[in-house]
Symmetry: C2
Subunit: 198 residues, 2 copies
Amino acid sequence: MSKDKILTEALSLFASRGYEGATLSELASRVGMKKASIYSHYKNKEEIFWAVIDCAYQEEIAKLSTGMKEVQHLAFRERLHNMMDQHVHFYKENDENANLWRRMTLFPPQDFKEGLKAKLLEYEQQFNEMLEQDLDRAIQSGEIREVNRDTGLAMINCILDGLFVEYSYYDDEEFNKRVEAVKVMTWRAFLPAGKEAE
Amino acid sequence: MSKDKILTEALSLFASRGYEGATLSELASRVGMKKASIYSHYKNKEEIFWAVIDCAYQEEIAKLSTGMKEVQHLAFRERLHNMMDQHVHFYKENDENANLWRRMTLFPPQDFKEGLKAKLLEYEQQFNEMLEQDLDRAIQSGEIREVNRDTGLAMINCILDGLFVEYSYYDDEEFNKRVEAVKVMTWRAFLPAGKEAE
DNA sequence: CCTACCGATCGGTAGG
DNA sequence: CCTACCGATCGGTAGG
């Protein structure tokens, strides 16, 4: 359907050029129609934007919860590393989607700033709820040191945010090295006192 | 001088709206002249852009090296924490400058992508050279564990990059909590085996 | 889904 | 440093 094709191409355009930088005439030419015809599927540019955002958001939330359920049986160290791999995998496989979030997180179009922020905090909250349970379980079983819950969450979030931006400015080889380095170091920060990383 | 005033206002505009989003007529009105008059000081928009970038870059490099020299006498743990505080301080005090770098790092205007990347890698290299010496010294003195040099650098860079983006989407109180959390956790990752964080 | 058009605004220039 | 203007392009509409 044309409506879906518009959505797909719009995602790609918003991700690479931003909201203001994406033009409806380029969108139309990618879809294979004239600019005016876009308006028989969507009311205006803003409506296209929110359709793209909603669609991308649903996709992320779904992926997040299935991804975290899959690794529930693993030890915390493996879950931690797996979580980083998952995020990295997302940057690589879903380049445009990830780039769209990066842009909308850091440089939201003035008019949509609040709406976007709400969506992002909602996402982080869902992510943190799952992570909290993970942390508590690992502390109780003695897998990791008795770290304060918010402190542990903040650390993991910060690392993921850091990798999130670094992905876009290092080449693949350099980025991979950094991911591995950060995995090792982050795990050390959670290591129980006295125990040693192998 | 008008030329400097243009530079200052242009920095502010590029930071908040990006290169394409910043218009010369708004720049002119902030400076207090007509758009056409800008062209008696600069050849075109692109020349203004590079003047802004060069100026901001010089400022950063200068601040970096004096900042790191000031804390040479401190223990590694304090240097590490101080480094994070310095960066955070920079985000807060120099909001526009920091925002310009964020934008140009992650979403450089297509035409200037390569030129900007060169500047950024140059900066990181200078930063890492200083940091390497710091790390080596701390390892030799037994202050921290025998971590691989690149691994340690990658971790610190990742944390700073993470805080860099988080600053722009949390409020002050939440952000400060996260900084403190990350300080504690990062230090733990460097702790010598067997020693305990107080 | 198209042709033909709108007013507004963009970066930039001519000429003083 | 200004007035007056240029061609190009923007998001959007009328009417079929």
